[in-house]
């Protein structure tokens, strides 16, 4: 655990430290009179937590989504499923550690799982490319969802990536082709697919495993077409200006779970413990497991042909435009 404290959380930790100090002092000096003061501060702390976390800005949520202690795909697999058998490799070039895949049982039900995987420390992050998958990752995902189709196992996809890996090798081996093909195949896959954005949903790299019958989002996850930083760089060119405006770009992009629900892109928001999933993994895990199970229950009796038609409808309806009367010929 990094224990990283985000800027906007500092007042909380400062007050916590004060309370701790006072409590220690009260014990060592045996001053019972301080108890009242401690209780008062604890109430203040609870209020402070509520105030800070209840009204997070979009940029603050982006920071929570990127918190190094935030649970990742393998944590949720271990937390809510059993008998995980990890499957490796794309059968063409290599094994991309930024994308994990395998079979697992959810309350005894066999499922196929695919998901981006970030590291929990620098060393693991280097191995996993910070959750940025290359074509091998997307081809592995494609192989696994086709396997799911063959054995009639539902698919669970967990999105958590700042974007697809922007390296030369990834490009050379067909990053765009690999992403396009998995989107396409998931569009017509003959088993149910439930997608959850658990952390970062960066661009095509996220959507690469994002087509499904239900798309859920953790409360503090973000999902849009570009990172706030890249958006800012494109708009403002100048590096300093771009760095200063990234928070405004996060606002402009409307990239939070609440935004996406309003825009008709996701089906539900999974509530997180106060301060984010890393503050209480077991609560976050339980909430997500419940949401996934409920989603399965909603679609489990739908015949697969109908489900695919509904999937097509679902994505066909995404987008906002006006229709004006046709020009007279």
């Amino acid at each position: 655990m990094s224990g990283l404290i985000l800027d906007f959380e500092k007042p909380i930790y400062e007050l916590e430290r004060q309370i701790d100090e006072m409590r220690n002092f009260a014990v060592t000096e045996n001053i019972g009179a301080l108890n009242e003061e401690i209780q008062r501060l604890e109430k203040k702390l609870a209020r402070l937590r509520e105030n800070i976390y209840a009204d997070l800005t979009r940029w603050q949520r982006v920071q929570i989504a990127r918190h190094p202690d935030r649970p990742h795909t393998l944590d949720y697999i271990a937390g809510m499923m059993t008998d995980f058998v990890e499957l490796h490799g794309d059968r063409a070039f290599g094994d991309d550690k930024a994308m994990v895949a395998g079979m697992a049982k959810l309350d005894g039900m066999p499922v196929m799982v695919i998901g981006h995987q970030k590291g929990s420390d620098t060393k693991e992050n280097l191995m996993r490319n910070f959750g940025m998958a290359g074509p091998e990752g997307y081809r592995k995902a494609l192989r696994i969802v086709k396997l799911a189709e063959k054995f009639e196992m539902p698919v669970l996809a967990f999105i958590d990536t700042p974007g697809a890996y922007p390296g030369a090798g990834a490009e050379e081996r067909g990053q765009a082709d690999a992403i396009a093909r998995v989107i396409y195949e998931m569009g017509r896959l003959t088993v149910p697919i439930i997608v959850t954005v658990i952390g970062e949903g960066g661009s095509g790299g996220a959507l690469g495993i994002g087509v499904g019958d239900r798309v859920l989002m953790m409360e503090n996850a973000w999902y849009t077409t570009i990172t706030p930083e890249a958006c800012s760089t494109i708009l403002w060119k100048d590096q300093e200006k771009a760095a200063a405006r990234k928070t405004d770009c996060a606002e402009a992009l409307r990239l939070t779970a609440a935004d996406l629900l309003e825009l008709g892109v996701i089906d539900g928001i999974v509530e997180e413990p106060l301060g984010g999933a890393h503050h209480d993994f077991s609560a976050a895990n339980q909430a997500l497991k419940t949401a996934i199970s409920e989603s399965f229950a909603e679609i489990t009796s739908t015949p697969i042909d109908t489900l695919i038609l509904e999937r097509i409808d679902k994505f066909s309806n995404m987008g906002v435009y006006d229709v004006v009367p046709a020009d007279p010929v």
């Binding site: 030369a168 490009e171 990053q175 765009a176 396409y184 095509g204 825009l263 906002v320 435009y321 020009d327």
Partner: protein, 293 residues
């Protein structure tokens, strides 16, 4: 005044990148610096006669190159871009759109409709670089999806000519979802066993390349076109090195197995027509086709 002009002035309605449109009689090739007679270029394919460089062209030029004369009927002209995110960072999105509409004479970055190639009915969608570099938002995605549906309804082949920097960030997640929308309609086209020819022109990148542009049954590319997912500048920042000459060009991806043929513009119609000749014409006659499809 000099006797020739660097191509940098005066936008012209819907006819490609404005830098390529000169006011003078002569134009200098971007690649080999040859001085070319503008009228020759315009009458031909806008390809440099010395080195084969393909100048950017707009949808109208592609229509005249590809389709039988007078056969094109535009559709989806009623779709208009809105401002679902109320995007105001640096510039109001509606103002941005209005500027491009004024400059390009187009309502959006792709033109869709139907027409004929050597008498064969086809559904076509052509990106135009003069409108926000051909980028994809809700309207572009919807028009592409409807062009695919038109193929299915009329039982005719689909041709998409792509040029785009990618998904348009001012529509955020909705732009991204157009990748899914278009790809999912292509699964239906596949089911209907109708051919889709994807032509990649300069440049076809990011969200467009990672969806319908990559999903052709037949993938053609114009010589020298930049193709890829990540832009070269971002790659160079990632790898902290300069990319070799020709990285991410049509020829580069052809060598790596992602493109069927690199086709010079003068051979485009003939090539596409030859591909189409392998598929029986099962298109609906104009009379039996529903009005307005």
């Amino acid at each position: 005044m000099s006797w020739f002009k660097k191509p940098n002035s005066g936008p012209k309605k819907g006819d490609g990148d404005r830098r390529n449109i000169p006011e003078g009689l002569w134009i200098k090739c971007d690649k080999c610096d040859a001085i070319l007679f503008k009228e020759d270029l315009d009458r031909g394919f806008r390809v440099c006669s010395k080195c084969g460089f393909h100048f950017k062209i707009g949808h109208q030029k592609y229509l005249s190159i590809l389709l039988d004369e007078g056969s094109f009927e535009e559709r989806e002209t009623e779709l208009r871009t809105t401002d679902p995110l109320q995007f105001k960072e640096k510039q109001n999105y509606p103002d941005h759109i209005k500027n491009y509409q004024k400059r390009s004479g187009l309502t959006e970055a792709v033109i869709t409709g139907k027409g004929a190639i050597d008498g064969r009915l086809v559904s076509v969608a052509i990106h135009d670089p003069s409108f926000i570099a051909g980028s994809m938002g809700s309207v572009v995605g919807e028009k592409i999806a409807r062009a695919i549906r038109r193929s299915i309804e009329l039982r005719c082949p689909l041709i998409i000519i792509s040029t785009a920097g990618g998904a348009r960030m001012q529509e955020g997640i909705l732009s991204l979802m157009q990748m899914a929308k278009t790809a999912i309609w292509l699964t239906r086209l596949s089911e209907a066993k109708l051919p889709y020819i994807s032509l990649l022109t300069n440049p076809t990148m990011a969200g467009v390349m990672a969806s319908y542009a990559s999903l052709g049954d037949f993938t053609l590319a114009e010589p020298g076109a930049m193709i890829g997912f990540t832009g070269p500048r971002v790659i160079e920042q990632t790898i902290r090195a300069t990319l070799p000459e020709g990285f991410q060009t049509a020829e580069f991806f052809y060598e790596r197995g992602f493109v069927d043929q690199v086709i010079p513009r003068p051979e485009l119609k003939e090539t596409i027509s030859r591909i189409l000749s392998y598929f029986p014409d099962q298109s609906m006659s104009p009379e039996s086709a529903e009005e307005g499809v």
